[in-house]
Symmetry: C2
Subunit: 340 residues, 2 copies
């Protein structure tokens, strides 16, 4: 059972709760509920002020090593939430911080706040509220952004025949985790460490993609947190459900953009890290062929496959052979040793 | 150092971050930042769609006993956030759930979801997103509500000479905690257990108070989570800062509305539980004397003191003697034994 199953199974009810009648001019509530990178909230009577909202929880020993530099942790805790806003095409507006700490450690707090503020300043966003308490080190950030619902980059809008695109390069963060688990951690200055500990959310790219989405030149998007295979599977599942048909995909092994730190590895290891590694925080999107020119113009995007009727998600090698990829995203409820 | 000091000291910067210029029609971001029950977010170009947003973190062993019924925990986790919306005069719209669990325990999840949904249904609000992960049992809910900023019940708008009012009755939840700590836990059917484990957020009252606030008949409000003395101190501090003067208060010992389960206790114990106990989730407000008639009409509100130039917060007994109350709200970073 992965985290999405958990949410779906216990917390999300078909048709939502009994609705309380809204008074005229009041908010409609959710335009888009759980299952996407963000929820969308909006008003009934105005086109302005549509919010995207998302929350992510980081737990010591699960999402980060206990000896992580607090400044990089502050950066990453906000970055993963801004990445969800980016995956929706939303402009960051504000964030809230709920923080449990075993003790009020001044040095730790100063470092953590420094990392948080430095990233917040890039986007001019504010900490608008929060809660701090004693407890096992846990960070829950809620980020709010602004997006026109008609432009929002949803997971459920992919179409058969779409190209699959991905930004940047993949696998470096997973490589850093793997090396550490194998007992030879990378130096702090290694570029893969920066990818793991200080990911750069693709906010500007998300805003550009939202413009293209409004023109019908991008269909669906998600950010890569759990690995390309698992995250693409979310698009396939949700878009398939929306279309009422099976949606599959083929990825071209030779087109996957590996981070240069993977260059020395055999192809199978490279693919494993890129497909199942997680923590890349790049954007994965699907777009009609009519979007190619506009997407190429954005730069830093690579076309890596196509959507078809499936079945499932396959990897095609240079000789044209295909193998079905397991749906093996990072599972939070597996033993810690699997991850760290 | 209490939780508020933590937030202020490390995370809130004077003047906020460097502002990124807003494009016309975009959101203004925060209308009201940290330090109140909720943040307020709104648009520059429309009066509609103003959001109040709040987040609260509940940690096992800090905010609830490990053997608590998951259904009551689900209720309480949402209730404490709705109480923050109530304290702002906001109508609940939606919520997000970030949940860390040591293992995927089906019975626990079913019970927790049942409690959550039952309370959500009272207000017709939806779970719009979230995150679940493995980790020490921790619940972070973010609640969003709608409120007209001109009517919002803020902490920083109290005025000298205001009456102090409180809803409902106090001390029952603290009594239940105390009895448990002393080794004779109350029966599950005891009314004080319900006050501790299934608090009823004062949402409707908050909405009525917001209407009076818009008319200038209510000035400031807060919900009682950490105890009357500590929570009132937040109003005194923030309103004093806004006024540029010292704001103090006198509370009338004989007017404090104790829960009937405190009836057998000596007066000093009663006052201790009501003033420093916490977990009441009633609303505390200040209002001009011109608001008396309207507030009496609402029912279930008790006038318990007045604001003056201070110093500090004092308790006045029936003979007119006053003693200064220590600013002793519940401190999350004290040892666990202090609380449980």
């Amino acid at each position: 059972m992965d985290e999405f199953d958990l949410i779906r199974q216990f917390f999300v009810r078909e048709g939502g709760p009994p609705r309380v009648p809204l008074k005229p001019g009041s908010l409609a509530g959710a335009l888009l509920g759980p299952g996407d990178d963000c929820a969308l909230l909006g008003a009934t009577t105005t086109a302005a002020a549509r919010f995207a909202v998302t929350t992510d929880l980081l737990v010591e020993g699960v999402h980060f090593f206990s000896d992580v530099d607090p400044q990089t942790l502050g950066h990453k805790a906000l970055a993963v939430n801004l990445s969800d806003l980016a995956a929706m095409g939303a402009r960051p507006v504000a964030y809230l911080l709920a923080l449990a700490l075993p003790r009020a450690d001044i040095d730790w707090l100063e470092g953590f706040a420094r990392g948080l503020h430095a990233l917040a300043d890039v986007y001019g966003i504010e900490l608008v509220g929060g809660d701090t308490t004693r407890g096992p080190l846990t960070i829950a950030i809620t980020a709010l952004g602004e997006v026109d619902p008609a432009a929002a980059l949803r997971r459920d809008r992919a179409r058969l025949g779409d190209d699959i695109w991905v930004s940047g390069c993949l696998g470096a963060a997973a490589f850093a985790v793997r090396e550490r688990v194998r007992g030879h951690p990378l130096a702090a200055s290694h570029p893969a460490r920066a990818r793991l500990e200080q990911p750069v959310p693709r906010v500007e790219l998300g805003l550009e993609l939202a413009k293209l989405s409004a023109q019908g030149l991008v269909h669906a998007a998600i950010d890569l947190s759990d690995g390309l295979a698992g995250d693409l599977s979310h698009i396939l599942a949700r878009s398939g459900a929306a279309l009422g048909t099976s949606v599959g995909a083929v990825l071209w092994a030779d087109a996957l953009p590996n981070h240069e730190c993977l260059n020395g590895l055999i192809a199978e290891d490279q693919h494993d890290l890129m497909l199942f590694g997680g923590d890349d925080y790049e954007l994965l999107l699907t777009a009609p062929t009519t979007g190619r020119r506009a997407l190429e113009r954005l730069g830093d995007l690579r076309r890596i496959g196509t959507l078809d009727t499936g079945p499932a998600l396959r990897l095609r090698d240079g000789s044209g052979d295909e193998r079905v990829l397991p749906n093996r995203a990072y599972q939070h409820f597996r033993s810690e040793a699997d991850r760290l």
